[in-house]
């Protein structure tokens, strides 16, 4: 496009504010919502057809196992499979699909194979909060610490702090989380002992909270929950803070080179104002969009990290389900994790549009 055409066409006459705002608002958010919904639809269908495409169709296998070792008739086995998998095998595919989706909409994810009769939804209800709690807290902490640290070393580029922090950040973000978990357990839990006691009481920290304490928003319970989640949270933070620091450092350096920062200093604005509203806010923008991707990554990491730390989150439950080939639970957990990631993507997009008016408010550039 002839760039000059775009830039020089003068601003269109202003529509009445109300209509203009609605036109802009609807177009952007609707698009983002649409994209999220379509992704959800795509993933649910992916899982649905996945089971069918598998060489050893798990449901078929389950039905045969029932008939073989429990002597059930095909009819009984099929019935049981139907409500366990929330899928009726005999009906034509599209009917199965509609049935599957409608059950899904009602929150019915089928029954667990392993622990008969317990709906997958209940299992997820018990484990999900712990992962959301541990991943959520660590994301928040590592994002804030990373952003601050990145800004500091960007401002003090020549100093001693910069090379150390940068090298450490790339070290922490390169080494996989689950390996760091093992290293923590080995060194803090076992190898390093001070007068006979290991630095970190690994075994007591297992589980989500000490059985005796009454769950609820009491200070004692919260303190205990943090004690138990200490290890997973520290590993999540260690693996992600480096990434945020380096990203913020390079964004800040770029922003410091922008003209509007020089003009802000020429206008005599205070350093504080420039660092926050000018450099900080513009440097933070790209980080917000990366936030969404990192949420997906954190959920992925939880599978192994929660297993090593014996922390009863959704990741550890997924691992257990996969090991025991408990397909409905596997399917349910994966869908929930994906929905959460997509939902947080949407949130990050909305947050981004609030921070950056160029997206929310169309203008000459459109």
């Amino acid at each position: 496009m002839d760039a000059a055409v775009e830039r020089e066409a003068s601003v269109p006459r202003t529509l009445p504010l109300r209509r203009w705002l609605r036109a802009v608002l609807s177009s952007y958010y609707v698009r983002q919502l649409g994209k999220a919904l379509f992704t959800v639809f795509f993933v649910t269908s992916l899982i649905f057809f996945l089971i069918r495409l598998m060489p050893t169709n798990p449901i078929e296998k389950y039905v045969n196992d029932l008939m073989v070792n429990e002597g059930r008739s095909r009819e009984e086995a099929l019935n049981e499979a139907r409500n366990i998998f929330a899928i009726d095998l005999d009906a034509p595919t599209y009917v199965q699909y509609l049935d599957y989706v409608s059950k899904l909409a009602k929150g019915d994810l089928g029954m667990s194979l392993l622990s008969r009769g317990t709906p997958v939804a209940d299992i997820i209800k018990t484990v999900l909060p712990w992962t959301v709690f541990s991943v959520g807290v660590s994301l928040l902490v590592s994002f804030i610490v990373g952003a601050l640290l990145g800004t500091v070393i960007a401002y003090r580029r020549g100093g001693a702090l910069d090379p150390i922090v940068s090298a450490l950040s790339s070290l922490l973000s390169a080494i996989p989380g689950y390996l760091q978990a093992i290293l923590l357990i080995v060194f803090l839990g076992v190898t390093i002992k001070i007068n006979g006691k290991s630095l970190v009481p690994i075994t007591q920290m297992r589980g989500a909270y000490t059985p005796g304490i009454q769950p609820g928003f009491t200070w004692a319970f919260v303190k205990d929950a943090f004690f138990h989640a200490g290890l997973p949270i520290s590993v999540y933070i260690l693996t992600t803070v480096g990434g945020w620091t380096l990203a913020m450092k390079s964004n800040t350096i770029n922003t410091l080179g922008e003209d509007y920062v020089t003009v802000a200093r020429a206008r005599g604005l205070s350093d504080g104002r420039i660092t926050t509203a000018y450099v900080g806010r513009n440097a933070l923008l790209p980080l917000v969009s990366q936030l969404a991707i990192s949420i997906g990554f954190a959920f992925g990491g939880s599978v192994l990290i929660e297993t090593y730390f014996v922390y009863p989150g959704i990741g550890q439950r997924l691992n257990a389900a996969v090991t025991n080939r408990d397909y409905p639970v596997m399917q349910g957990i994966f869908l929930i994790i994906t929905f959460m990631v997509i939902f947080s993507n949407l949130l990050a997009d909305l947050l981004y549009s609030v921070l950056d008016p160029r997206i929310r408010v169309g203008g000459k550039g459109e």
Partner: protein, 307 residues
């Protein structure tokens, strides 16, 4: 530099001698460029060391498979610098032999995902229109789905029998990253004046792609290749630790998993049995990240000239 030297560096009709001279010259220049960034060069050397040890090591030090009950979890000694495992076998030989499969899978994954990324990226940006929108949407969806959980579920459903098959799965999940980078690059490079000039001079599409556009994208491709390798190692080792990739090859992941289940961590001297493979993977991943710093400079025209 005499006229002949200038002529010999042209791309076209060159004698065998020139080709050899050219190749040696470019390898020497490649090393000099890699050395420009200290950290990057250290990373590069470590990676080189890994490949040499992993592919040549097994010939020199075959894996010690005979169980020696009296030497279980023996302390590291001069003869066995990394001590013995839970069956009294030499840990060092396992580490030396543990790299080949991981690196092969990682390389395969990186190659496949780079190939997919480049072809789809170029396709989307050149054809544009419907194809472009479709591919971009597909990439967005793949990026939105959390990779590792999907991998875990996939591995739960299907038997991953061979390294190549695992590499294919990993590649199919990791192509969107490079796809978006390539697409953005090609779109921006295509608008560049010197590409327009090449069109005007009727130099032909092959010339435009391989002599005008690709050289300017090499740093992108190299860095994405490196990151898809580290991604492949991350996922692969994770699956092995979950016991979802049962092929019984010698592999650091398998070592960690066995060491963990055998409780190696509770024997003070045996800790090295689990730490050795953990550090092997960690250091490789770190070296890869450091190496990407050099890769950026190798393909930066401003520096290439001065080397």
């Amino acid at each position: 530099m005499s006229e002949d030297a200038v002529r010999s560096t042209t791309v076209y009709q060159r004698t065998a001698k020139d080709v050899l001279l050219g190749m040696w010259g470019s390898i020497a220049r490649f090393f000099r460029l890699m050395a420009r960034n200290r950290l990057g060069f250290v990373g590069f050397l470590i990676i080189l060391f890994y490949f040499v040890v992993s592919f040549l090591g097994p010939l020199v030090m075959p894996v010690d498979n005979n169980t020696k009950v009296d030497r279980i979890f023996e302390r590291p000694s001069w003869r066995h610098p990394l001590g013995m495992d839970h069956q009294g076998r030499d840990v060092l030989s396992q580490v030396v032999n543990g790299g080949r499969d991981i690196l092969t899978t990682a390389l395969l994954t990186a190659l496949i995902s780079t190939a997919i990324g480049i072809t789809l990226g170029a396709l989307a940006s050149v054809i544009g229109g419907g194809v472009d929108n479709l591919l971009v949407m597909l990439a967005d969806i793949f990026m939105a789905v959390p990779q590792f959980p999907l991998l875990v579920v996939l591995a739960g459903f299907i038997q991953v029998s061979s390294m190549a098959f695992l590499a294919l799965i990993l590649a199919v999940l990791s192509w969107p990253g490079l796809f978006r980078a390539v697409r953005a690059q090609v779109l921006s490079l295509r608008e560049r004046d010197y590409v327009e000039a090449a069109v005007l001079l009727d130099l032909g599409t092959p010339h435009i792609i391989f002599r005008e556009i690709l050289p300017n994208m090499m740093s992108y491709i190299a860095i994405s290749f490196a990151f898809s390798m580290t991604g492949a190692i991350y996922s692969q080792t994770g699956l092995v630790l979950l016991g979802l990739v049962p092929f019984s090859s010698q592999n650091w992941g398998v070592m960690i998993s066995i060491a963990w289940t055998r409780g190696a961590i509770f024997y003070r001297d045996a800790a090295v049995y689990i730490l050795a493979p953990v550090f092997a993977i960690a250091i490789f991943q770190l070296a890869m990240v450091w190496m990407t710093r050099s890769l950026e400079e190798v393909f930066n025209p401003r520096l290439r000239a001065r080397a």
